[in-house]
């Protein structure tokens, strides 16, 4: 999947992944995509809630080897 910016949130615990995500999204233009890699299993639900509450779109969410990769599209 194409993305415009990558955020490494590995080793960070709640609420840092979504806080960093919010900050990173501010630097993007509308419809651009942010790729986030996290290791906190709670991040899966956090990003779903974040997308739902803020109106940004969670394009995909995947897990591989203990790492979770998310693609968030800025509204």
């Amino acid at each position: 999947m194409n993305f415009d910016k990558e955020l490494d949130a590995r080793g960070l615990q709640c609420p840092l992944p979504i806080l960093r995500c919010k900050k990173a999204l501010q630097e993007l233009a509308s419809a651009q995509v942010l790729k986030i890699i996290a290791t906190d299993p709670g991040a899966v639900k956090d990003f779903q809630a974040f997308a739902k509450q803020t109106g940004n779109e969670l394009l995909s969410s995947a897990e591989a080897g203990g790492e979770y990769t998310f693609f968030m599209k800025k509204k």
Binding site: L12, C14, P15, L16, Q53, T54, G55
Partner: protein, 169 residues
Amino acid sequence: METKKLAIIATKGTLDWAYPPFILASTAAALGYEVQVFFTFYGLQLVRKDLSALKVSPLGNPGMPMKMPFGPKWFKGINWNIPNAVQAIIPGYETLATGLMKQTIKNCGVATIPELRELCQEADVKFIACQMTVDLFGFEHSDFIDGLEYAGAAMFFEFAGETDICLYI
């Protein structure tokens, strides 16, 4: 979708009680809430410039797990239940417990209080200090961080009365 509002009244000043207001405020702000935190009584300790005085006390705190943040896994799993009578006698016990707690927090990748506080302010969370308790404890405005407003309960109620969630911590 109308903006949701969160008000938090922070009244405690120890390290363990410092986390809930900042984590809830920063998370809500990340989710698009408008957030205001009212610091009063010991909560004022959380808005001091110098946060190094924040401590945690295991004394009389039976809910606090006391595990070492270092060593092999079996060692880390031991819960060192020290009786209150012993805790009260050892000088520097709180400093030790605080140090171990901070190490545990760091090991798990959880943010530090200064970091969380900064994230809150960056996310436009409004911090209000209770002027009455500032005077009560003889604090000066220079003891506290910038960007802090000073007000009383009446002014805070203006916002608190309109919130979807209001928490007393």
